[in-house]
């Protein structure tokens, strides 16, 4: 049975597919959707994440065994059981058929229709009318199919139902008002039954069907527009709602909003994130390239290469060096617990990695240990005060800024970076070191 973690932003219908599949199969799935475990727009751009998931997109799944997957349909498939995937070759193929139907026949027009009502896309009358027609076509196909059937494939819930129902969540919540959905009663009966199965409900909560078709939300739209001074978004190929569809393209040439004005649901989530402005933005450019040093430290000998490089390039205006010491050494018991204390702090400071480096060492043995370290920070202040997320651990440490020209500093940097030396100020033997980089 699969067990692992699903990275996503909260309330992501693509992630729901995997979460519901896991409810049915009993796969043990942890969802990482909020800080500190996962912050959309940040965690998914870190090298560590990109190393496992080259697109940097979510949902993304990592098994406890290290197995990694991206693409929501693949993840949902993996977390399913045989009954959900379709037990015969025919059933499995039919499941695939409906999963693809959801992606290619429902999602594009649904996005084009719904996004303007959420204020995340400019309204364009023709585009919306075309989208409504396309949604009707998909609904007609489903309605016909469900006339004689309870579920999409076979006589029980499958991944087909999960995928198609999740792809219709926004439609049913936002725009499919009773009059509009009336001709498609088989679809609504099926949809309501699906979302009320305990396994769906556990993930979706109560799904309230639209009572009145939502219209373009102009106010929200203007609020959501990226400010002029924000850096341009990277190219988004294959954006679902903006997918070129030849026949439509011809019709709406005249008044198509410029593509940079358009957002999709991903951008909307990003825009809605509380603005964590870059806390180091006010600092002028430094000549010390942290990444360069980290590469040297990771790949080459510390004493003969990394340290000389550090002192040659260190910029005392742009950076500061700090000595940290754990305030409560008497509380440190088993060494593995003490190590977790250090690595836990590193994890919580994840977003600081670009602007900091540290080597923190556990000294001593079980029930007689201490923790101290050397930190290099961008700027002259302790970076922890710059963001609330970073303050969890820092109060448990004493912090002392070192004069980078002093002998004391040179010695400490050398000993802490190399994990060897007298460590005179400590009085306990080196046990193990951890590096924040």
């Amino acid at each position: 049975m699969a067990a692992g973690t699903l990275y996503t932003y909260p309330e992501n219908w693509r992630a729901f597919k995997a979460q519901i599949a896991a409810q049915y199969s009993g796969a043990r799935l942890k969802v990482a959707s909020t800080s500190p475990a996962f912050t959309f727009g940040q965690t998914n751009r870190t090298p560590a994440f990109l190393n496992n998931f080259p697109l940097g997109k979510v949902p993304a799944y990592q098994g406890d065994d290290g197995f990694c997957l991206f693409e929501s349909n693949a993840i949902a498939h993996y977390l399913s059981n045989d009954a959900l995937r379709g037990a015969t070759p025919q059933a499995a193929a039919q499941v695939l058929q409906w999963v693809n139907f959801a992606d290619s026949e429902i999602i594009p027009p649904a996005s084009a229709w719904v996004f303007p009502t959420l204020g995340i896309m400019q309204f364009n009358k023709q585009a919306t009318e075309q989208a409504k027609e396309d949604v009707k076509r998909a609904l007609t196909v489903l309605n016909q199919h469900l006339n004689t059937r309870t579920f999409l494939v076979g006589e029980r819930v499958s991944l087909a139902d999960i995928s198609v129902a999740c792809s219709m969540l926004w439609l049913y919540k936002q725009v499919l008002e009773p009059a509009f959905r009336q001709p498609y009663s088989n679809v609504t009966r099926w949809f309501v039954t699906c979302v009320n199965q305990p396994e769906f409900k556990a993930v979706l909560g109560e799904v309230k069907l639209c009572e009145k078709m939502a219209q373009f939300d102009a106010k929200k739209f203007s609020e959501m527009q990226p400010k002029k001074d924000t850096p341009p978004k990277k190219e988004k190929a294959g954006k679902e709602a903006a997918k070129p569809q030849e026949k439509k393209e011809k019709k709406k040439e005249e008044k198509k909003p410029a593509p940079e004005e358009e957002m999709d649901d991903c951008d909307a989530v990003l825009a809605a994130e509380p603005k964590t402005k870059d806390p180091f933005a006010h600092l002028s450019k430094s000549t010390f390239v942290m990444d360069e040093f980290k590469r040297k430290y990771s790949n080459e000998d510390t004493l003969t290469v990394a340290l000389p490089h550090f002192w040659e390039h260190f910029d005392r205006e742009g950076y500061s060096i700090w000595y940290s010491q754990y305030k409560y050494p008497e509380e440190l018991t088993l060494t593995f617990k003490s190590c977790n204390l250090i690595t836990g702090m590193f994890q919580r400071l994840d977003k600081l990695r670009k602007n900091a480096f540290a080597s923190v060492i556990l000294f001593g043995t079980n029930n007689d240990s201490s923790i101290s370290g050397i930190w290099i920070f961008r700027g002259q202040e302790l970076a922890f005060t710059l963001s609330e997320d970073w303050q969890i651990d820092y109060e448990s440490y004493d912090w002392r800024k070192l004069d980078s020209d002093s002998e004391e500093c040179k010695t400490m940097v050398k000993e802490y970076f190399a994990w060897e030396g007298d460590f005179k100020h400590v009085g306990k033997a080196f046990n193990q070191g951890k590096v924040f980089k």
Binding site: T148, T150, E155, R189
Partner: protein, 170 residues
């Protein structure tokens, strides 16, 4: 109908000791007063089997379950050809927007209705099955529910319309 349907229900519930009923459909309750009526007995059996979810998961669906149990008892015990038409029309209309008889889950109401209506479904022509398409859909779903059909012959359902679409009757 009572005895046959109740013993099917007992089997479905996996209760071990069959044939506890008198021919009047009364069940001798070991440590309580005799119970009367199919609906009450069905309730009792479900409780005995510790499958309370089969009685409905909300107060509302529990009431609906009870209502359909009563319906099965009163309407499907003995009936004329005319009665059958009315029953099928009732059900057709009711099942238009529903997958199960009560709420969004399978309940004992579906089981007993299935046992009760099985003889009717066996005799329907293809056209009639199309005319009562919502009943047919419901029936097919229930006969595929694990453990429900037992020894009853499966009723063949055609998925693709053979006759005209506008003959659907509700």
């Amino acid at each position: 109908m009572a005895v046959r349907e109740l013993s099917s229900l007992e089997k479905y519930l996996g209760l071990k000791k069959p044939n506890k009923y008198s021919t009047q459909g009364d069940k001798k309750n070991n440590n309580g007063p005799p119970l009367a009526g199919l609906a009450t007995i069905a309730h009792q059996l479900v409780k005995e089997a510790e499958r309370p979810e089969l009685l409905g998961d909300t107060a509302e669906s529990r009431a609906v379950v009870h209502q359909w149990l009563e319906y099965s008892v009163t309407k499907l015990d003995s009936y004329t050809k005319e009665d059958i038409k009315i029953i099928l029309k009732d059900l057709s209309l009711y099942l238009l927007d529903k997958v199960y008889l009560a709420g969004n889950q399978f309940t004992v109401a579906d089981t007993l209705m299935y046992y009760g209506i099985h003889p009717v479904m066996v005799d329907l022509t293809i056209q009639e099955k199309e005319r009562y398409v919502t009943v047919t859909r419901w029936f097919d779903h229930i006969q595929h529910h694990p453990g429900v059909r037992q020894r009853l012959p499966p009723v063949l359902i055609h998925r693709n319309r053979i006759y005209m679409a506008d003959t659907i009757e509700i």
